[in-house]
């Protein structure tokens, strides 16, 4: 008769074997690795002439059953232990054998499915913040982080890898790791994200979800030497020192916004217009000038555009004076 008592799944398994001649105990006690076990067999003889107590693992240790360790083991006492680690999940048999002084033996075996059976992980993730499962194009505000809330019945430590896919760059990391969505270079739209978690036994699970990348506000402006245009891209545009140069805002609002609520124009860090003017002008004083436009829309999104403008020297003039 076998008595199997599961004290703590994954932790300790104790089962008893009652022999015809002897009384034996099989005790499974795991070590730090959930797939490593120590078997202890207790033997007894009603006649009191117990000779040896053995523990054996009939399944080939290099096959699907237990291996390593020091099993089998034979002891000249009423208790015998051996340790092993599972090479792979699966069922296996352990046997206890008691022999008395007269050479009478009794053996009992048990096939167990507990212990070396791996439980696959369960993949799951959520957005952080949970109510905001979106990000903006080319923006790190807000930072959208996907929280890896995967679990494994065999313990969190059993998860070997997490693989995030959906938006570049993909991310592979050991154990459980979160994923920060990089929106640089992404166009707006919905993106399906998948998280695959793989445990130490190569069992895996995949969770998918959708995030939204919204078009962010984009600040930009054009340049001209004349108030009425023609307007040109400011890249490579050259103004003239001490003459007015004109700017025209061509910013686009963020997804969901309707209009620009604020425009601040700056020359070398000093604001020369902050009254939400779509066109503005300033005299370039230096050979190299940095123009900055900061815009904000009614969705509260802000962006800035910078342009370094070179200034030509003005027409050379001189005044004749008396010696």
């Amino acid at each position: 008769m076998n008595i199997v008592k599961l004290i703590n799944k994954k932790k300790t398994i104790v089962f008893l074997v009652l022999l015809f001649l002897s009384l034996g105990f099989f005790q499974f006690a795991d070590t730090s690795d959930p797939l490593s076990f120590t078997i202890t067999v207790s033997c007894s003889d009603p006649d009191g002439d117990l000779s040896t107590c053995e523990v054996t693992l009939p399944i080939d240790p290099t096959d699907t059953g237990p291996n390593d360790g020091i099993c089998p083991e034979s002891c000249a006492s009423d208790s015998c232990s051996c340790s092993f680690t599972c090479a792979a999940p699966g069922d296996w048999s352990v046997c206890g054998k008691a022999t008395d002084a007269e050479g009478l033996t009794d053996e009992d075996c048990s096939t167990e499915t507990i212990g070396c059976v791996n439980h696959p992980p369960v993949a799951a993730f959520s957005c952080d913040p949970e109510s905001c499962c979106y990000a903006y194009t080319d923006s790190s505000n807000p930072i959208l982080t996907l929280i890896n809330s995967s679990s494994d019945p065999d313990g969190e430590d059993d998860i070997a890898f997490s693989k995030w896919k959906g938006v570049r760059p993909s991310s592979n990391c050991p154990g459980l790791c979160d994923y920060t969505v990089q929106t640089s270079g992404l166009s707006s739209g919905n993106y399906e994200i998948s998280l695959k978690v793989i445990d130490k036994s190569n069992a895996s699970s995949v969770a998918t979800g959708t995030i939204e990348i919204k078009q962010d506000i984009m600040a930009d402006f054009l340049c001209s030497m004349d108030e009425e245009g023609p307007w040109e891209d400011c890249t490579g545009f050259k103004g003239i020192q001490k003459e007015y140069i004109y700017f025209k805002d061509i910013s686009t609002v963020s997804e969901g916004a309707e209009y620009i609520t604020s425009r601040i124009w700056e020359l070398d860090g000093d604001a020369f217009s902050d009254e939400n003017e779509a066109t503005s002008s300033v005299k370039l004083l230096e050979r190299s000038n940095i123009i900055k436009l900061t815009v904000k829309d009614d969705a509260g999104r802000t962006d800035s555009a910078l342009s370094t403008l070179k200034a030509r020297l003005p027409l050379p003039t001189w005044k004749e004076v008396a010696p």
Binding site: K238, I240, Q241, K242, E243, L285, E286, R287, K310, A311, R312, L313, P314, L315, P316, T317, W318, K319, E320, V321, A322, P323
Partner: protein
């Protein structure tokens, strides 16, 4: 008439003419030698060796050429900076009037000018003066020669 009576033969007159031509040639040669030994340039000198941007610079120009020199009304001068070769600044390329000659300088005369320095990059500078030779005020300017000032530093 008395002079001609001294030449008793025609060949005497011919001899005198030849002597006069030889003497003239010698004089011309001497004059030409010393003329070319004289300075043949335009002096362009700044008042100080050190300036800062957005200040006035005083400039003297003396014509030591045998020619009249004339200046452009659009671009009478250009600043150049040493970096490490001489590099001309980029100027406003739209002169709002025809590039006529508006002033000239006769040989051995000098003129003085003040220039308001724009914002220049720090470093060693010089002034390039393009000139037209032997033109008149009101003619279209055409660059014949360029002359340079002394080097000066812009802080």
């Amino acid at each position: 008439m008395e002079l001609f009576k001294t030449f008793k033969k025609p060949k005497d007159l011919l001899l005198v003419i030849i002597l006069i031509m030889i003497a003239g040639g010698i004089f011309w040669g001497i004059w030409n030698y010393y003329y070319h030994a004289m300075p043949q340039q335009v002096l362009v000198i700044t008042e100080k060796p050190l300036y800062t941007s957005n200040t006035e610079l005083s400039l003297a120009i003396k014509d030591i050429l045998p020619n009249r020199i004339c200046f452009s009304s659009c671009y009478p001068y250009f600043f150049e900076r040493k970096d490490p070769k001489w590099v001309a600044y980029d100027y406003n390329n739209k002169c709002d009037h025809p590039d006529m000659i508006e002033s000239c300088l006769e040989p051995d005369f000098a003129k003085f000018f003040t220039i308001f320095l724009p914002s220049l990059d720090p470093g060693v500078h010089r002034i390039l003066i393009p000139v037209a030779l032997n033109k008149e005020v009101g003619d279209f300017f055409q660059r014949d020669e360029v002359y340079y000032s002394n080097d000066f530093i812009v802080e």
